[in-house]
Symmetry: D3
Subunit: 328 residues, 6 copies
Amino acid sequence: MTDYPYPLLERPSMIWTKQTDKTTDLKVHEWIETVGDPFPNWHDYDVTILGVPLSKSSISTSAASDNPDAMRQAWKSFGTYNLDEDIDLATLKAIDLGNVKQHATDIAYTHQQIEQAMAAMRTHHPHTLPVVMGGDHSITAMLIKGWKQAHPEETVGILQLDTHFDLRDLNVFGPANGTPIRNLIESGTVEGKHVHNIGLHGFFNAKELKDYADETGVHYTTMKQARKKGVAHIIKQALEQLHNQVDTIYLTVDMDVLDIAHNPAAPAATPGGMYTEELFEAVQIAGEHPSVKAMDMVCLDPRKDIGGMAVKSAVHTMLSFLTGYCRH
Amino acid sequence: MTDYPYPLLERPSMIWTKQTDKTTDLKVHEWIETVGDPFPNWHDYDVTILGVPLSKSSISTSAASDNPDAMRQAWKSFGTYNLDEDIDLATLKAIDLGNVKQHATDIAYTHQQIEQAMAAMRTHHPHTLPVVMGGDHSITAMLIKGWKQAHPEETVGILQLDTHFDLRDLNVFGPANGTPIRNLIESGTVEGKHVHNIGLHGFFNAKELKDYADETGVHYTTMKQARKKGVAHIIKQALEQLHNQVDTIYLTVDMDVLDIAHNPAAPAATPGGMYTEELFEAVQIAGEHPSVKAMDMVCLDPRKDIGGMAVKSAVHTMLSFLTGYCRH
Amino acid sequence: MTDYPYPLLERPSMIWTKQTDKTTDLKVHEWIETVGDPFPNWHDYDVTILGVPLSKSSISTSAASDNPDAMRQAWKSFGTYNLDEDIDLATLKAIDLGNVKQHATDIAYTHQQIEQAMAAMRTHHPHTLPVVMGGDHSITAMLIKGWKQAHPEETVGILQLDTHFDLRDLNVFGPANGTPIRNLIESGTVEGKHVHNIGLHGFFNAKELKDYADETGVHYTTMKQARKKGVAHIIKQALEQLHNQVDTIYLTVDMDVLDIAHNPAAPAATPGGMYTEELFEAVQIAGEHPSVKAMDMVCLDPRKDIGGMAVKSAVHTMLSFLTGYCRH
Amino acid sequence: MTDYPYPLLERPSMIWTKQTDKTTDLKVHEWIETVGDPFPNWHDYDVTILGVPLSKSSISTSAASDNPDAMRQAWKSFGTYNLDEDIDLATLKAIDLGNVKQHATDIAYTHQQIEQAMAAMRTHHPHTLPVVMGGDHSITAMLIKGWKQAHPEETVGILQLDTHFDLRDLNVFGPANGTPIRNLIESGTVEGKHVHNIGLHGFFNAKELKDYADETGVHYTTMKQARKKGVAHIIKQALEQLHNQVDTIYLTVDMDVLDIAHNPAAPAATPGGMYTEELFEAVQIAGEHPSVKAMDMVCLDPRKDIGGMAVKSAVHTMLSFLTGYCRH
Amino acid sequence: MTDYPYPLLERPSMIWTKQTDKTTDLKVHEWIETVGDPFPNWHDYDVTILGVPLSKSSISTSAASDNPDAMRQAWKSFGTYNLDEDIDLATLKAIDLGNVKQHATDIAYTHQQIEQAMAAMRTHHPHTLPVVMGGDHSITAMLIKGWKQAHPEETVGILQLDTHFDLRDLNVFGPANGTPIRNLIESGTVEGKHVHNIGLHGFFNAKELKDYADETGVHYTTMKQARKKGVAHIIKQALEQLHNQVDTIYLTVDMDVLDIAHNPAAPAATPGGMYTEELFEAVQIAGEHPSVKAMDMVCLDPRKDIGGMAVKSAVHTMLSFLTGYCRH
Amino acid sequence: MTDYPYPLLERPSMIWTKQTDKTTDLKVHEWIETVGDPFPNWHDYDVTILGVPLSKSSISTSAASDNPDAMRQAWKSFGTYNLDEDIDLATLKAIDLGNVKQHATDIAYTHQQIEQAMAAMRTHHPHTLPVVMGGDHSITAMLIKGWKQAHPEETVGILQLDTHFDLRDLNVFGPANGTPIRNLIESGTVEGKHVHNIGLHGFFNAKELKDYADETGVHYTTMKQARKKGVAHIIKQALEQLHNQVDTIYLTVDMDVLDIAHNPAAPAATPGGMYTEELFEAVQIAGEHPSVKAMDMVCLDPRKDIGGMAVKSAVHTMLSFLTGYCRH
């Protein structure tokens, strides 16, 4: 265990400097530690944050690869104290493990590294909560496979916030950002009925994918339906159903679930999508749930961001999730 | 009839190439046909789409002239299947007729061409549904005059979604983007009481125009009022009233009705405006109504768009309207 | 009184030209007068508008100094008639006094000028309503101190719409944009219990500041709470409480209270914030209240604006407030 | 003469305020006067500046209509003193006449107004130097026709800096931005051999137009040729030839002659074009020449500008020309 | 040969519509044909244009994948007639073959397709001139390998215009955009001494790469040296040397050779780089040379373009090269 | 000396992480060390880099305060090896000292800190070369005063590359970005005749300032003159003159000396300015000169940058200067 997780990971390219003696007005970048010397004692940590800067696997060209570093740079604008809930995230001990190493031209190899990174995390410090900053949605398939490799006995369910099914044909695209859920179903990693997808949008999902979802039992709620019933209500319902069927719920947030006016940086975000206030409440509820044991945020391309609003929303999504987790 | 509508129209400057054997995951650009050889058999078509790239008639300089081609380019991002309603637009047969030819320096001549194009459409294939991509709002006056030319016996009413009355003085501006409704009333084409304008905003309509609306019986609901009662409710009410009074309801959507955060590309869009989710529901309801027989979308300047969100919203507006129409 | 307020002020760098004989379709820039010759007879005026182009006092670099002129340029897009309420602002007589003169390198001196400008306004024409276009939030401390200098006997309360407490430590920052409320409390100008802050956001306010607010009795409602109960309801409640305790309510609107999708130009605006429709209703309610006797708008950096939406929102905020004031 | 030129003109929408007692560090906006009361005594003035905000006549949609006001706003960044030549423009007396009034939908009418405005200027104060801020290139035909109307006996030649011939077919386009020189030749206003066009670029001029130029004797030098021989040298040569043949040389600068890296705001600017340093020297040489008696700058669309660089270049072009004129 | 090149290629997603009867003012998009029915008779064509939309192989994320379609869209702004040289490109017959098909997640497979596409072109119509629109620089290795596959007996030399050596270590990066020249040398496809690289820049090439270049005999001239001696001179010298040593000279233009002010869209472009006028002259000289038999343009990311200037420069580069080729 | 320079400085907010074992392809961010533990042994270092993030002292609002961190982030794109000169900067040992601490609202206090920081550097490790990343030009006065405090016996001369004289009136502006040279002259720190300013531009310097320059003996060469004689030649001449008169030459580069097309991020940059290739050569020549012992770069506002070109140019300027210094 001594050299874990160095073989697979590398430090983020820039790190925040800190004033170590600071006791008040703690900012997120001053709270989250980075891996350094001496080697971390994993038992001290509650949350492990991992960057996966891979977006070569996107069907349309994406710079979601820039997102982990963009989120890290935006940490500085956020405090650890959540006035809304009177909760201070600093009661959790969190560490930024850095990024999974990327190969310039071999996507399959990088995918293996991602899977191994999650497997190693689950093997060496299974009590910590993994929070993953993608990268595109292809990584979710690898991360959950890594989880299953470490916990082969566990049943895993997925709470997915997404504009799309992500059930496209693996034979055509390979392990791309349009196929992760199908990848997990076809590889037997997750059962279709243990997937709840919320926020789907008309005109962005082929009829064939709906048919596949119906055949494999994937649960789904369109954004229009979710808004009518209340996003919070739908999330709670999905969590309850999953809780009764699986050991672990994995939360995956495709940032394109947001309305394009709120998230211009997700190339596939649409008008009529979810608002940030709805998303933050949704992930906070998920974070509170005892079965939710990992989360990722994917498909945010910071190069398309406007005034930093999308990256801010991604950081806020992470912090809202952790706010919920503080209630455990 | 053999060469209709070529004398007035020209093909869009770029057309999407298609994989003709595609049977699944049909995209909008693969669904909508373009006029080519052999000559279309109009009886096969349900929907005829027309571009009107005129914005020289805008009071403030506008590049809404770029909108028809911008919308065509954005078709590729949309599928024909609407998951929200489980409706596939591909059950309709649609054809893109191209653009009304424009004169570089003679606006009046171009206006005549627009009127003739609609008249010809209504004469030669009156069973199809015209969907018009503007251009600025001056074109609505020409399009409805063309309709009346082909159907002189019909009473036409207007359901208008707009931030403005568009009742400014013809003597001052001529047939500009601020005058179409007044143009139609003063020319006796449409009666004031057969106009329902929804989404008007404070500070963007002179008192004189309100007085003119009151005198001529134009019905109007401000955005603030509409939001309090529910946009969908207001739309249904207006449709019902019009249905009892006119033969044909023409839907005109000035894209500046949207909140400026949702539509930065309409120069006159305002804060506090309509959200895209509200607009999409409104036009879908209109599309469902049997008396609504034509629609246009105007005043969207793609050069001011941010991340393509406004053009996406325009395409979604068209598709939501057609979703309603599928229910006929 | 003859030369007031020239020693402290200077004319805006550009002024709108007017067609003096215009009687219809009056635009805001044609309604608001500018100081010229002959010298204004203050008794004729209801509203005095003041620009304070200071943002050197911002903790993070800001060009909120550009805001007064940006707002003036945007006046042209607005009419004086508010269709929503059937109220014409032109029934009020308004004058733009220009800007408080700025020193290039001496912030303290400029702050004194700001304080003196408000004191002079209150001394020479106390019946007019001051509307101030900032600048950053540091100016609010100076403006209220100037008010108190002219009206030492009055108790002043603050209705603050803000993402932040603005209660940071004066010893560390001096009179910066993060400290005005604390400045007012510590200087004995305003009592903590007479401050109502609405729209605060989690992760952007340190725990220490909440503790300070609790200790000094500052009232606060987070955006999340306000949205659940209704922003309008919360505003009315705060006004009612203040009305019972103070002589004068000063309304200060930090434009960063808006959601970042609606206001990309406030560097500290966040996702999940207030929507413009909510803000406009809030300030209109405040404007209607007889105890609200001054207002400012601060912390909007036009260089970060997207398509002019934020500056438009600031002007709309001012006009909505004045709409309420017309009901007095 | 009393009410000239009011019937045709209107004041710019914004004007700079001035500190009238300023004697040092004079800025351009403080130097150029605006028409007000009392009525100007034309004999006092050397330079009359006219805005022509027309770009509806552009073949491709353009907002060159915004240019006159954009240039006026940029005046503030420039001083009157030219350190390069130790010349102070303030030794000239200059007045901004405002803009030729525009009709919203009748281009032909506006064109007549432009022609009349120049004719009136030449009739009422023929000793002043007209400097025109366009607008698109169609206005040059109207301005020179107006000149000829006032001075029917004069032979007029044209020194044109342009990427294009502007010799396209009037029958197809009407008086558009691609046809002004042909318009002048075909109407007999100017002879082809009295036109010298410098800065033309390959791939942007049809062979037919070169043939027309050759047939009508238009002189032309491509940018590539001009750079090899030196732009200044070519300009001097052209001026010398024109000087021997005509009474008056009219300088027209199509801002698209600039390299697109130096002028992103001219939609037709190309890579490989003229650099600003070359243009400034060229127009200064032209300004020095006694036969050059008027100039215009056209086809700059400020909405496409980047960081204000193009508008700054246009103002610098005007000031460089006037620097030359000071040497008269 | 009947179905060549369909198995490897696909049509561009959009194609320009044409007015087939047009005989004057031919635009580039009207001149270049597209593959359709009936099947092209290759003997009719002089130039075959190929798109290679691959940039997943870039070390830093790039959207150079968008470049082929961006260039096609920009064709419309260019005429076929080059006034500078009085040459009409339309004397050449050119066809756009479309794009090499891309796999979403298997870069190695796509690379094979690219190699095969060039091999097939050289086998089936070896008399045509291939012009390739990349994509990133990794494709150059594949294209030249494809060439060698079809012409194993030929010696191939490379004239490279580039800021970088592109000699990075294959073992670390694989066939990425930083390694193509090394790839060709190490695979024995091209000898180091047959590579002439012009335009290299300080601070962007490691000492190790210079050492490798020296060891393998690669010729190189920095931009600073080239400018001092004249870019045209250096190009002619390199062509002459290569002409004496190889059968075929392949021209590869990495668009990052341009100064960043002239090409903001090449992520690795630097200040102090080549100007467009220099590049256009350089490629025209290369096009004139009888040994230059193919060319590609790579590493232009249209998403970073400013006002279209970079894509325009790429098209101009292609047309300047073909202008030279017309002189054959 | 033990705690120097901590009392005045703070670490940059982000620092680059490094792979310490790297021996090839060294990037600038991997070469420049940061202050950490153990405490630096100053005798090991050749170059000390200091950030001065102050721009509150700018007359027009500027975010040049963001420049030091922006430059640090851009270091990653540059290698230490300069191929143009075959010089590796890594032969110098360089350390980034961090930033001078800033007060939020007290500019005078911050100015004192800057002066003290330079004085301390010169006292504690006078053999190192200070390279300062501003900030606005006001800091140059403080830095040179700090130098004189440490070396009261030395005569200091200034080589200034600037569009402006920076000789404006201290009584009006205080120690702002328009007054540093006058500040130095009036305080007796530097004699006017020991200032050589190169790159001045017409229309951006008042006649009064030229007169002041003439009276105080300041040497100046406009950009137009410099380009005619060659920038390199003028620089060498100035250095030679200064070398004969002073002990130390301080190089100050106001980045607005660059042409606005090359540097959109300097608000006062103009068209017709210096090109980057000229600037890089100029500073390299200065760096080579034995009397040049310190340099700063000022007035670059990264928020106005386009595609990072200006910040890249600033870093290249620093590296070109150090390339020259390597020749010492």
